[in-house]
């Protein structure tokens, strides 16, 4: 009797266990693939199409989803847990699904010359404190930077060393030394960057971006023009191009207290010029220049005139000089017929051109 009851109890316990597990167990033909790191599960079983058509679509999908979610949750509950701020948290493993990166792998920064030397010699970086005790001011000051400790450029009293020139300015000497150090540092930094990148960055304007401003284009033209062997001296201008007169320096002044004799001479010359009755401009030169300018203008207009496509076609291929020559031919000596002689008429400042269009 007792034995029977024990057996009964055991059987009952077993049944209860099975019942408990029934609520969370799901039967599948094929096991799912899990990736707990991504909270991802993949059910490879082909879905039951007949049931799908029989039932309401959504109901079928929902029951399928419930089964799969149950399996995934079972899997996640198997993970090791810990308690973080009274919350039970499961530690996720690394995700196993291979997904592409967003950006390419970063290239390591190129090392500087000092870093290479330190690696070679085995020099370790020593960690230094930010603040240093300054005895003079009796307070903690930065090791470097604004208002640093032991700043020798800020001293108010410097003893002149015995070997130094008594008239030398020791304060400015220290400031100059500091400036030199700063410049040297900057140069080395830029050299490190240039060595690291191995790209020669061309001067401004030569590597064009989409929209270049007028100044950038001007600079680019200037750089291109002056990159010849004779530094742009024999480079002609384009038709409407003007040579800029003072590139770079806007104004130059003599120092206030400079060469006294030169200043005296300048003032006397000025007085002489004011006294003399000679005109300030060379009239012949001016007239010639004007005539040449007007010839050029007329020639340009003739070239541009419409309806004479043949001539235009001829001009485009060759260079400037030849183009002018060709223009001279069919133009019928329009340029030649215009010469009024060099000093023709003293004050003939605007010689008129009477060659009309043919």
């Amino acid at each position: 009797m007792a034995a029977c009851s024990i057996e009964d109890v055991l059987a009952k316990a077993e049944r209860e266990e099975v019942e408990k597990l029934k609520s969370i167990s799901v039967h599948k033909e094929q096991e799912l693939e899990f990736d707990p790191g991504n909270l991802f599960a993949f059910d490879k079983n082909p879905p039951n199409i007949r049931e799908f058509r029989k039932l309401n679509k959504d109901e079928f999908l929902r029951s399928l989803a419930r089964d799969n979610t149950q399996l995934l949750i079972n899997e996640l509950w198997k993970l090791p847990t810990e308690r973080v701020e009274e919350v039970i948290v499961a530690k996720l493993p690394e995700p196993t699904t291979r997904l592409p990166r967003e950006k390419p792998v970063p290239k390591p920064r190129p090392s500087t010359k000092w870093e290479e030397f330190a690696k070679l010699k085995g020099i370790q970086k020593k960690k230094k404190t930010n603040l240093v005790w300054d005895d003079v001011h009796k307070e903690w000051k930065r090791r470097w930077g604004y208002k640093r400790a032991n700043d020798d450029t800020k001293e108010w009293l410097i003893e002149v060393p015995e070997t130094a020139d008594p008239n030398e300015d020791q304060f400015s000497k220290r400031i100059k030394a500091k400036k030199e150090r700063v410049a040297k540092n900057e140069l080395n930094r830029l050299r490190n960057i240039a060595r690291g990148q191995k790209i020669k960055v061309p001067g401004v304007g030569l590597a064009p971006t989409e929209q270049q401003s007028k100044t950038e284009l001007g600079k680019a033209i200037h750089v291109a023009k002056h990159s010849t062997a004779s530094v742009g001296k024999f480079q002609g201008n384009l038709p409407k191009e003007k040579t800029p007169k003072n590139m770079g320096k806007k104004r130059k002044f003599e120092p206030l207290i400079g060469d006294f004799s030169a200043e005296k001479q300048k003032q006397l010359d000025l007085l002489n010029i004011m006294d003399s009755k000679k005109p300030r401009i060379d009239i012949t030169k001016a007239v010639n220049k004007q005539m040449r300018e007007e010839d050029r203008q007329s020639g340009f207009q003739k070239r541009k005139s419409p309806g004479k496509k043949g001539r235009k076609g001829n001009f485009s291929g060759k260079g400037k000089a030849k183009g002018k020559g060709k223009k001279g031919g069919p133009g019928g000596g329009s340029g030649g017929g215009n010469s009024k002689g060099g000093p023709g008429g003293g004050k003939n400042r605007k010689p008129r051109m009477k060659q009309g269009k043919r």
Binding site: K20, N38, L39, F42, D58, A90, R98, P100, P104, P106
Partner: protein
Amino acid sequence: MTQLDGVVKPKTKRSKRFLQGREPKLNENIKKAMLIKGGNANQTVTQALKDIYSLKKPNAVMYKKKNITRPFEDQSSLEFFSKKSDCSLFLFGSHNKKRPNNLVFGRMFDFHVLDMIELGIEKFVSLKDIKNSKIPEGTKPLLIFAGDAFETGNEHKKLKNLLIDFFRGPTVPCVRLVGLEHVLHITALEGKIYLRSYKVLLKKSGCRTPRIELEEIGPSFDFTMRRIHLASVDLYKTAHRQPKALKPKEKKNISHDVFGMKYGRLHMQKQDLFKLHTRKMKGLKRKAEKAEGEETEAEASTAKAAKNQ
């Protein structure tokens, strides 16, 4: 910020930090998605985009205005947008007679389009059409794919990869077990792809693991696969390349058995076997007090012999 050759050089610390955030890194940032409307997007498509935006918040950007582009013909404007907003995933919605209710899921590598898949919406139920309580924004969803089509079909495999990437969210080291509320279930059946979104209710079961009940919230889509644009094999290889620093360092001299037993290897110098210290039989010594004469002498003699050698 000054610009030289298209490279922006920061002038302030804040802008420098911003640019450093966008640089390529060993451990990458969370992938952001941009949701763009095409030139002729209708109500369905717009609502679908809005719903997916709410699923992907805060790692998503929604473009309010319509952009007249065609992703499958010209990818330059998409690449420009991705560069500006630093998004590597995109979703483009459009509608025309030939391809009604069109959604193009895509992702980028190094701001160039890696792959794009076009899906057509057959049926769509929006978030606001299903009236019940929803889940908080930004919960990491459980992703479940069902159907053998995802195993056999090449296009379906790519789609699976893309959808995992799209809806994955941030990679976290640990997750609050109670907070697993959202499930995205994607089934491939009879040529169509069904996406359903459920809220997980954890019910008491007899044991530690809870019983799951699902409640449908969220958008539900019935998709059909349309066009697909994949990148070349070597571009995929480059994109999947992981930096060496991330690989876990292998410990040498440790091996594992079939049964899971851990074996280690120690390397020792050569031992002189004659100088080995074996066990001292102390117990035998005491018992040998009775037969002192012989045994102790014998022991002493052996000990001496051992010492001599």
